[in-house]
Point group: C2
Chain length 272, copies 2
């Protein structure tokens, strides 16, 4: 007799796979864990696959062959994304968020682990097939979003620093001009962070003119890695012409009017 | 006839609950989601509970009464923690991690989403019953660990800045003396970040003399919130006497010898 019942095995399998997104588990692993035959595990996987797809809880992929196995892939459908982004816009429109100078206070939202998780799921779904091997961001406000994207894709996160720190070891740096303030600044990346030739995804919270993003792209070129995708949570409508191309942004911020307590923010056309 | 089979409902229920740790779901929610009677959902929950406990995958808690429901609580047992910390020590002992000045390069480990996830699970388990309502950290290296702890506990993350930023709105700041370098520095927190009287957890990557941590505690006092727990990934063995008390650290770093390529690092006694 088998040690665990089918519903116990299937539920555990889904939990373990989805706790470790994009990580390949061999059939042997589950066969040993559940003390069950590989043919039984195969059937369990078929059940698990059906369940997650039917409930829109992601995707389970099987890879056949000697080095094969099973893995969970982050996937959320457009209806879920649209609902989440609509809720997010509503939160961001609260007039009390306006900071003198027509900025929006959004730290509480960006750092909310439920929201960063969902943003990571969206970027994970969108960039799943880019072959990205690292997620890169610059300190500080994009970190939670980049972190959850890295988790969804099961790839390492790398944080570019705005100051040179001894704990990073030798660094490569570049000077860049902030697109909005026109100030010259420097950014630093540890030489150990990403080997040459790797594919990276750039994730950040906010795109205004694009000076910082352009700086990151320049730094990536400097360390000889390929940028295969760029994602922002928000971009400003103005300036319309950004210093970078080929990016996605989930939200667009229009006029912020302190007098009227008005924040114009909406989903990007991509999700309309 | 019911729309979904028991094993489908139980597996989905576990997935949804554990994707949203420490969040209360009403029986009605699942009753509607699965088009099933509440009595059926109650039985499903009993099954789900047994499965996660039997497989050491966390805990499912039911709360009875009108405002009751069911939630998933992060819980990992000591055996899992010990195995994870032993692996982590082994990784951190690699001689190539030594940075001139006897520092250890650990950014790749701290930012690895699988590792930060596990550290978050450990802190989540340890601090589960402190009543913490916010997780606080200071930029930059503790962010991923604090973020995953916040996710495990389903509470917001707050990041203290080392520079005053316009996007934080009005801030409260304090000056502090870094325990190791003896330099005077300033830290800033948004006035909107945490309401008075709340309970907070402080999470950071590294404790040396404790000057920064003491600064954070001072800042929390300034904004009138209570510190109910303090956790570090690593602390140094020297100085033995830190500037703060009542903290836990998962690992302890002893002598780092560049000549011999030796890094002394071990689990804290708590996990031996």
């Amino acid at each position: 007799m088998e040690k665990y019942k089918r519903n116990e095995r299937v539920a555990s399998l889904i939990k373990i796979l989805s706790d470790n997104p994009n990580q390949l588990f061999s059939l042997n692993y589950f066969s040993e864990l559940f003390s069950a035959a590989k043919s039984t595990i195969s059937e369990d996987i078929t059940f698990a696959k059906k369940i997650v797809e039917q409930m829109s809880l992601g995707q389970i992929e099987t890879i056949s062959g000697a080095s094969g196995g099973v893995k969970y892939k982050t996937y959320i459908d457009k209806a879920h994304i649209v609902r989440f982004l609509d809720d997010l816009c509503e939160k961001l429109r609260e007039p009390k968020r306006i900071i003198p100078g027509n900025y929006i206070y959004a730290s509480d939202i960006i750092y909310d682990p439920n929201i960063s998780y969902m943003v990571g799921q969206i970027f994970g779904t969108y960039f799943m097939n880019t072959g990205a091997e690292y997620v890169v961001t610059i300190e500080t406000k994009g970190i939670t979003l980049a972190h959850m994207t890295a988790r969804a894709l099961n790839i390492p996160l790398v944080i570019i620093r705005r100051e040179n720190r001894v704990t990073e070891g030798s660094t490569v740096s570049i000077n860049y001009v902030s697109g909005s303030s026109k100030r010259i600044q420097t950014m630093f990346i540890s030489k150990r962070a990403i080997p040459e030739g790797k594919k990276v995804l750039i994730i950040d919270d906010f795109l205004k003119a694009g000076g910082t993003a352009k700086g990151i792209i320049g730094l990536m070129k400097e360390i000889k890695v390929d940028v295969v995708g760029i994602g922002f949570l928000m971009k400003t409508a103005e300036p319309e012409q950004k210093l970078i191309n080929d990016y996605i942004s989930l939200l667009e911020v229009g006029e912020v009017d302190e007098q009227k307590g008005l924040i114009n923010i909406y989903k990007d056309m991509l999700f309309s």
